[in-house]
């Protein structure tokens, strides 16, 4: 656990490429995408894919807040996506379709769930923490599958996207894109200020050496719990967006495999940088989306039956790629960028 916990060294100043520019480039790219999308000829597809990337970016970033800065490996983070999504779905099915009510309910729900489960989970350490968060995630998953009134296993379709103050602001995909970007930027700015604050320093201190933090008079538990609650609330927001994008809610939003994917996105991007998690989410989803086509294209010398068979079973390539990334790309994308800078 100590290895991943190491903070990256402060970068040496040198002219040219700087890692500090990464978030600026990233957000500029998201902002420019809608303007460039029409050129691709499949504007709707590009926008909806990027919206999905941003929503998962929010979720992965919220996980990075506790995983990267607190070394708390939560293996049940998808539960918060579920809480956010079900808050939207359940309220909508009772006729409350306004996001101004749905989102606060989702945030409060996530905060309460995080507070209770966090208070229990944080009593345990290491592997036990991973397992107990997993158990709480599963608990919520099974609760969702048994909600017969709200679709049970099959989930439920939303009547429409949420209203904002009574207006159907999110109806068009373009508007939804901008709202998602706003949420991504808002939660990034908020998380950034959290980690830069005294609170964030205590959290990192507790990760490096809890005994020493206690010796100088801090209660790591309280800080970790607060971070867990904040992280859960941000993930809950991502859940609201996810339900709205799909206009559908189901227990599949919170399978443990989804929690695993979120961890993967964070590690792929590089722990403890926040924007790394967004990049990780983007890479993960784009790989998932385009790997079938890439495989189909790359096997041009084979016959057609083999090519379609290969594209269909893209996960047989995806799995090994994941393993290779873990084995060889330590520090994730952000690690590569930093190393590239130092030569």
């Amino acid at each position: 656990m100590t290895e991943l916990a190491q903070t990256q060294p402060v970068s040496v100043r040198s002219p040219g490429w700087r890692p500090e520019l990464v978030p600026i480039v990233l957000f500029a790219a998201f902002a420019a995408a809608p303007l460039l999308a029409p050129a691709s000829g499949a504007e709707g597809y590009v926008l909806s894919l990027l919206t999905r990337v941003m929503i998962f970016g929010i979720a992965a970033m919220s996980l990075d807040l506790i995983l990267g800065y607190g070394a708390l490996v939560s293996f049940g983070h998808a539960a918060f996506l579920g809480i956010g999504a079900y808050a939207v779905g359940i309220l909508a099915s009772h006729g409350i379709e306004d996001a101004l009510i749905q989102v606060p309910v989702a945030l409060i729900g996530s905060a309460l769930f995080a507070l209770v489960t966090g208070a229990i989970s944080l009593r345990t350490k290491g592997v036990y923490f991973i397992m107990i968060t997993l158990a709480f995630g599963q608990m919520l998953f099974f609760l969702a599958t048994s909600l017969a009134a709200y679709g049970g296993d099959d989930g439920m379709t939303l009547p429409s996207r949420s209203l904002v103050g009574g207006f159907p602001l999110l109806k068009s995909d373009a508007a939804f894109y901008w709202v998602s970007l706003l949420c991504l930027f808002g939660s990034y700015a908020f998380s950034r200020s959290v980690v830069a604050s005294r609170f964030g320093r205590v959290l990192r201190g507790a990760k490096e050496n809890p005994a020493r933090m206690e010796a100088i008079g801090f209660h790591p538990f309280r800080y970790q719990l607060a971070a867990y609650v904040i992280s859960g609330m941000i993930a809950g927001l991502a859940g609201c967006l996810m339900a709205n994008q799909a206009e559908f809610v189901s227990p599949a939003f919170m399978t443990w495999q989804r929690s695993g994917e979120l961890i993967f996105m964070v590690v792929l991007g590089g722990l403890g940088s926040l924007h790394g998690a967004i990049i990780g989410a983007a890479l993960f989803l784009l790989l998932e989306e385009f790997l079938p086509e890439i495989l189909h294209g790359a096997s041009f010398m084979m016959d057609d039956a083999f090519r379609s068979h290969l594209a269909e079973n893209w996960k047989m390539v995806f799995g090994p790629i994941l393993i290779l990334i873990v084995l060889f790309a330590r520090g994730g994308i952000m690690g590569l960028l930093r190393r590239g800078r130092h030569g």
Binding site: L4, V127, I130, M131, S146, I263, N313, K315, L322, I323
Partner: protein, 306 residues
């Protein structure tokens, strides 16, 4: 009527618990001795089921298929160890979780690739088909009794192996303090390999045993893996005895809880609400149970490490 139902459900619970134990035993040793989180343990259970399905389709004989499937599962486990897991022992838990997650993604798709996405059926062996009367008027499938017998036999063998042989002693010592064992001159790498292969074989055996009563399909190991983790966390990482008791407990709580939670709630609530909440609570029971155990005993009931 209710007592017969309770008896049947208790037997089902024990049978399920023993299957869980077979999976959890390997997992807890790998976890305890090597400090290695192997999410891919569930797919080894799936591979066991597929192997027995393939071999029994080929030979037409379940016993022969089982006999062929076990060494194959062992070899497969060793192959994974050499190819992938060996490189992860000195990594942190996060890397282990992720790499073995990749193995799950690969193998779930690979069985789909080889055997197709449709569930396979394995016929119940002729000798063990049919039912037997265990109390007056109460019939119970022979095959499920056979699973219970097999589970108990393996548990007994495992007990003898772990507490009365030299290898078992090393394994126990390794679970308590692996570094010390290594410092005393034991080839820990080889011990790891033995434990790993053996664990994979046990999981494969569990998969093979349930193949005739469950449908053999891709992803069948994913949910049972989580249950196996619940078992070893409740039992205490590295403890075979803890895994055995916790597995039976979980099997009983899950199976009996699903049947009786609605009935029990009827005492406090009106029938409609009771059956609804009961059905909602039942699958959560084991996780609530686990959270409760960890709340009072943060390192499980029988922790091996001191």
């Amino acid at each position: 009527m209710t007592t017969t139902l309770l008896l049947v459900q208790a037997l089902n619970g024990i049978q399920f618990g023993l299957i869980l134990f077979l999976i959890a035993a390997g997992l807890t040793l790998v976890f305890g001795v090597m400090d290695f989180i192997n999410l891919a343990h569930g797919v080894q259970y799936m591979v066991g089921a597929y192997l027995v399905a393939a071999f029994s389709a080929w030979t037409g004989n379940f016993a022969l298929a089982l006999l062929l499937a076990l060494p194959t599962a062992l070899a497969f486990g060793l192959l994974l160890e050499v190819l992938i897991f060996r490189h992860l022992y000195d990594r942190d838990h996060l890397d282990q979780v992720l790499a073995t997650f990749g193995v799950i993604v690969f193998l779930n798709q690979a069985v789909k690739f080889v055997w197709g996405a449709a569930p396979l059926n394995v016929p119940v062996p002729e000798i063990l088909s049919g039912s037997v009367e265990i109390a007056n008027g109460l019939l119970y499938p022979v095959y499920r009794l056979a699973i219970i017998a097999a589970g108990l036999t393996v548990a007994g063998l495992l007990y003898v192996l772990v507490s009365h042989t030299r290898v078992g002693m090393l394994v126990r010592a390794g679970a308590t303090n692996a570094q010390m064992v290594s410092a005393l001159g034991v080839n820990i790498q080889r011990l790891f390999m033995v434990v790993f292969g053996f664990g994979a074989m046990l999981a494969g055996f569990a998969g093979a045993m349930v193949a005739p009563i469950l449908s053999v399909e891709p992803g069948m190991g994913d949910n049972i893996l989580i249950l196996a983790f619940v078992v070893i966390v409740i039992g205490g990482v590295g403890s075979i005895r803890g895994a055995f008791l916790a597995a039976l407990l979980i099997g009983l709580v899950d199976t009996v809880g699903r049947t009786f939670a609605p009935n029990l709630l009827r005492i406090f609530l009106d029938p409609a609400t009771a059956s609804q909440t009961g059905r909602a609570i039942a699958p959560m029971l084991i996780y609530i149970f686990m959270a409760a155990v960890l709340f009072f005993r943060p390192s499980g009931l029988f922790p091996a490490k001191r």
